[in-house]
């Protein structure tokens, strides 16, 4: 992995990232089922399907591999990047670039921390590593979610994390396309637009669930 | 008395080069490995020579003062490169290119060399295209040409306004390939400060490592100087800040003759001087004269109003404008050769009609062209030049006329070389701008790039073999020999002397003074009294310099002031020689205009009877006067005539 060229590393990171981007869409779809006013029946059915289908099980492994790859390469290239400028500038950079594009590592860390929290709250309970809170079964994601989001500070934290994820994605999508060499003068504008729209969609979509629970349930 | 033998091959001019190549001696590939060559400079001439010689199998060491070979000042050439390809089918041929170059040089160049230049010009284009130089093309995918500098055929190949850059990057890439292959060793950030002769032959150089200050000795079987021109003797010029005469001058001090030093080219279209702090002049491509019209106000009261900013240039009525080039030269108008255009601008400004805050500028107006061709057409032709002008001057040429004034641009004079490009020192070669050979008294546009690459790619690799074939039994030289030791000690002593002279004034301030003297008395127009005055002032300046300059910092560290000090010291000595050469040449020709020798209409008046020769100067010692040698020029192909652009 260390011996891969910088471009290979970035390409693998981009491919893993794009895979995660598609996964987010699936996850969001299931989350939005929470909002259906049927006592969580649709949501639980979907959650059960995701938890039991063998094909999905296989994809779960791929998904974890994707996360791992993206994170490991992310950390690796960031360390290399820091090493490439051992003595920093006295006057910080004022170049005309999008602010957050320079802080992908930092937004990435926020998303990673969120992921850890998210695992503790859901996935680890599911696989039995963490005991569920009293009164809730380990497979009952519906009530678990309602319980968590009824706490305002948790909802707020959740929304803030997704705003950072949105920022991360906003740069990430067009960046991945560029890294893969698909920058084309005719289409790059559209790619950037779609990427931004998608990140807003993801951030807003995921934030919708806690907001609804907080205010309407 | 003459020691000059140009060794021009026998036979008709068109067959000389072929005959030479067939008859010259070759070096066996196994022996090439045992032969070392030093090349000084990495511009078009130096880089092309070093890469070609490395490719042939010689061991090459190439020197440049810049941090990388790609920065050599050839990179700044804008217009284009000539070649007699005749792609446009407009009747061009090697003979025509040869003829135009001789005539453009005002009949002061050597026929045989110029013909060879025209002959190999086509090969240059082929090679550069193969290297990936992105010349301008037609929609059909083939190369396009433009007419340049008033030529009657379209023979100029170009890459937007950056032809020099693209050609140099081509040569640099070829050089890089040889460096990677190990056949060429790069010595960057080095100033070559002296030549080393062993038994009368050039056998090495003494260089200063500009980063560490170390004085290095490098030996070779032959030395090639490709260090460019000496325009910086005028302080303000279009040359790079570091461009210098030092390698050529040290060769001169070691016995290589210096030819026609007074032949300098003043380019008519540069951005005028803005003030005393100015360090450098910027050229605007000559192509601007294709569409721009040059004028000054015809009435003195308009000049004054302009200077007081009471009126704008566009407020001056058509009838009150003096389109002086169109007036004086109806046939060529704004497209007269560089020397003619420059002198005409000076004439108007001297008469008091100059514009701008300093009164030393003329207008180059595109209003008519924009009206005729449209804004977009002008933009596509000159957009990048207009932008560059606006960056520097903060005025848009679309809205108000450009202001231009002539500036020193190129030096036709240089080390005297024979047909093989060898100086009067055996084994010491000079190529590109630093030799005198091909442009006579005036260089045509788009010919400098052609000459640099012709010398480096296609001439020197043949001619140097002819010399080296006799050196195959000469073992590599030991740099601890007495000759190297002596030269290195000489350089160290000189540096110490400059450093410790105890003066107070900066190098730049001496350089500015030198520039003022040269521009005033040995610039666009010269006369005997002025030249005498210049000689007097230069002698004073040289004395003051030797005890008045202050160099901060040490000898063994990175020290830009010390670098400049060596260069300026040589420029002052060169200035003296230029003035003597200008004084000796009692005629006007090309860029050399002596006010005493002009026609009744103010045009240059040549004197072919007495001055159809190359004036080569021999060094006679630090304080002795140099001796003049003449190489008579024989014109067998071309009949001498008065240049007329009326």
């Amino acid at each position: 992995m260390l011996l891969y060229s910088s471009i290979t590393k970035k390409v693998l990171m981009a491919l893993a990232g794009l895979f995660l981007v598609t996964f987010l869409c699936v996850h969001l779809g299931i989350n939005l089922m929470l909002l259906r006013d049927d006592g969580g029946r649709t949501f639980s059915a979907a959650a059960t399907f995701m938890g039991t289908n063998p094909l999905i099980k296989v994809f779960e492994i791929v998904l974890f591999a994707g996360f791992l790859l993206h994170i490991l390469f992310g950390v690796l290239v960031s360390f290399q990047n820091r090493a490439a400028r051992p003595s920093p500038y006295v006057c910080s950079n004022n170049s005309d670039t999008s602010f957050f594009s320079k802080y992908m590592f930092h937004t990435g860390i926020i998303v990673f921390l969120f992921l850890v929290l998210h695992f503790i709250d859901f996935y680890f309970i599911k696989i039995g590593l963490v005991a569920p809170p009293p009164g809730i079964e380990s497979h009952d994601f519906y009530h678990r979610t309602l319980l968590l989001f009824s706490t305002p500070w948790y909802s707020l934290l959740y929304i803030v994390c997704f705003i950072f994820l949105g920022i991360h994605l906003n740069h990430a999508i067009q960046s991945a396309i560029q890294t893969l060499g698909w920058n084309h003068s005719k289409y790059m504008g559209a790619v950037k637009f779609i990427g931004s729209a998608y990140s807003v969609f993801i951030a807003a979509g995921f934030s919708l669930v806690p907001l609804c629970i907080l205010f309407f349930k | 008395m003459t020691r000059l033998n140009a060794r021009i091959p026998e036979g008709p001019v068109a067959e000389k080069w072929t005959a030479y190549k067939s008859g010259s001696k070759l070096v066996n590939p196994n022996n090439k490995r045992k032969l070392d060559i030093i090349v000084i400079g990495t511009g078009l001439a130096g880089a092309s020579a070093a890469s070609s010689l490395g490719q042939l199998g010689y061991n090459v060491k190439v020197f440049c003062y810049q941090d990388t070979p790609r920065r050599a000042h050839s990179i700044a050439a804008q217009g284009g490169i000539n070649a007699a390809k005749n792609y446009p089918n407009d009747g061009d041929s090697a003979y025509r290119l040869f003829y135009d170059t001789i005539k453009g040089g005002d009949y002061r160049a050597r026929e045989a060399n110029v013909y060879r230049l025209a002959e190999v010009s086509n090969q240059i284009i082929d090679l550069c295209v193969a290297q990936g130089v992105p010349f301008a093309r037609e929609y059909g995918g083939l190369l396009t040409n433009r007419s340049f500098g008033g030529a009657q055929v379209s023979r100029t190949f170009y890459a937007r306004g950056q032809t020099g850059q693209q050609l140099l990057l081509g040569a640099y890439s070829a050089l890089s390939r040889q460096i990677a292959a190990g056949s060429v060793t790069l010595c960057n950030r080095r100033d070559v400060l002296d030549m080393v002769l062993v038994d009368g032959k050039a056998r090495g150089v003494i260089a200063r490592n500009l980063v560490t200050g170390e004085i290095e000795r490098h030996a070779a079987h032959a030395v090639v100087i490709a260090s460019g021109g000496y325009g910086n003797v005028f302080f303000l010029s279009t040359n790079a800040m570091g461009s210098n005469v030092t390698p050529a001058w040290s060769a001169y001090r070691k016995g290589a003759m210096f030819a026609n030093p007074s032949f300098t080219q003043i380019h008519p279209t540069c951005i005028p001087v803005h003030g005393d702090a100015q360090s450098k002049l910027t050229l605007m491509s000559e192509s601007l004269r294709n569409d721009g019209r040059i004028w000054v106000p015809a009435k003195m009261k308009d000049v004054e109003k302009l200077r007081n900013k009471e009126i704008k240039p566009s407020d001056i009525a058509e009838a009150d404008r003096d389109y002086y080039l169109e007036r004086r030269y109806p046939a060529f108008g704004n497209l007269v050769p560089r020397d003619v255009a420059s002198r005409a601008a000076k004439e108007r400004c001297d008469a008091g009609f100059g514009v701008g805050s300093t009164g030393v500028a003329v207008f180059l107006d595109f209003a008519d062209a924009i009206k005729r061709k449209g804004h977009d057409a002008i933009d596509s032709l000159y957009g990048n030049l207009f932008q560059m002008y606006e960056q520097i001057v903060a005025e848009s040429p679309y809205e108000t006329p450009m202001m231009i004034y002539p500036a020193v641009h190129y030096t036709m004079g240089g080390l005297w070389v024979d047909y093989e490009l060898m100086t009067t020192v055996p084994g010491l070669y000079a190529i590109g701008e630093c030799n005198f050979s091909d442009h006579g008294a005036n260089r045509l546009g788009a010919s400098a790039l052609m000459q640099g690459l012709a010398d480096g790619y296609f001439v020197l690799p043949y001619t140097i073999g002819n010399y080296l074939s006799a050196e195959i039994h000469t073992p590599r030289f030991d740099t601890s020999s007495s000759e190297f030791k002596l030269a290195a000690e000489g350089v160290t002593d000189r540096l110490k002397q400059i450093k410790n002279c105890g003066g107070k004034e900066s190098v730049d301030s001496f350089h500015r003074r030198l520039g003022k003297i040269m521009w005033e008395y040995c610039g666009m127009a010269r006369n005997d009294a002025g030249l005498t005055e210049a000689l007097y002032q230069l002698t004073e300046l040289r004395q003051e310099y030797s005890r008045g300059v202050r160099i901060p910092g040490g000898l063994d560290e990175y020290n830009p002031e010390l670098e400049k000090a060596c260069r300026v010291g040589d420029f002052i000595e060169l200035g003296q020689l230029m003035v003597r050469d200008a004084q000796q040449r009692r005629e006007s020709c090309g860029g050399h205009f002596r006010e005493e020798y002009q026609t009744s209409e103010g045009e240059a008046l040549r004197n072919d009877e007495e001055f159809a020769f190359v004036g080569a100067w021999e060094y006679k010692g630090r304080d002795a006067a140099a001796a003049l040698h003449r190489e008579e020029l024989q014109f067998k192909e071309i009949k001498l005539s008065q240049r007329s652009y009326k």
Partner: protein, 257 residues
């Protein structure tokens, strides 16, 4: 105009450097940034001080020698120009101007504001050329090149190798520099012949020299004085991927004597 300058002073590669303040007075707004520094150096020399060392040569924006990081931007606040073409009218009278050298592991400081950019030479030596010899090439017009391709190649070839892309990049990556050279040659039929090998070698060399990775912030494009775009980086990535994915295993063929 008057200015306060804060300039990075460093005696040599190993010495510790620091920012030092200077005042310059009476500068013409038409002066270039270097003419302003010339004035400062004149003052320093005449008062017995040590002038500031900075790289500069052509002073017309084409040689790529100049390299100052001014107020947090390579080549200063004006877009599309090198430091030598930056004029003092771009600054307000009386302001403080920060001047630093390019900073990157691959560009070590030599003195004051001068850095060693020979890493760029090494990258070109690794493959930034078409392997043709002097002599023996076909007539120039036997290789037609579509005008659009030729123009795009020129746009990439216009790189002056100043290193502003590396200086601006938060990762000190050299992708724009290499992307430009790879693109220039990959777009032309002359360069296509060895395009795969070239991109592999140049990228490998870049990695070896300690430049950072690209994170597509496009600061390089924003600061490139020649307006070279990141499309060239994408093209290099494409070239690199196809070279890695589709190139056959290399066979060593010995030419028979």
């Amino acid at each position: 105009m008057n200015f306060t300058l804060k300039i990075w002073r460093q005696k040599n590669a190993t010495a510790k450097g620091e920012m030092v303040s200077y005042n310059v007075k009476g500068i013409s707004s038409d002066s270039s940034f270097f003419e302003m520094l010339d004035t400062l150096n004149q003052q320093l020399i005449e008062s017995g001080g040590d002038p500031v060392a900075f790289d500069h040569d052509c002073r017309e924006g084409i040689c790529g020698t100049c390299s100052l990081y001014i107020n947090g931007r390579p080549h200063g606040p004006v877009k599309g120009v090198t430091t030598c073409q930056l004029h003092m009218r771009a600054f307000k009278d009386g302001v403080t101007i920060n001047v630093e050298p390019w900073r990157a592991k691959a560009f070590p400081v030599i003195r004051d504001l001068i850095v060693d950019r020979s890493a760029f030479d090494k990258i070109i030596q690794a493959g930034g050329f078409v392997s043709v010899n002097t002599g023996g090439v076909p007539d120039a017009n036997t290789i037609p090149v579509p005008k659009e391709k030729s123009d795009a190649a020129f746009d990439a070839a216009t790189c002056i190798g100043c290193g502003a892309c590396v200086a601006a990049c938060s990762n000190a990556a050299a992708m724009l520099f290499i992307g430009a050279k790879v693109s220039h040659l990959a777009l032309l039929p002359q360069g296509r012949v060895e395009a795969a090998k070239r991109v592999e070698k140049m990228v490998a060399c870049m990695d070896e020299l300690g430049f950072g990775n690209c994170s597509n912030t496009y600061a390089c494009e924003a600061e490139c004085p020649k307006g070279i775009t990141v499309v060239n980086i994408a093209r290099m990535n494409r070239e690199f991927l196809s070279a890695k994915l589709f190139a056959e295993k290399e066979k060593i063929v010995q030419d028979s004597l």
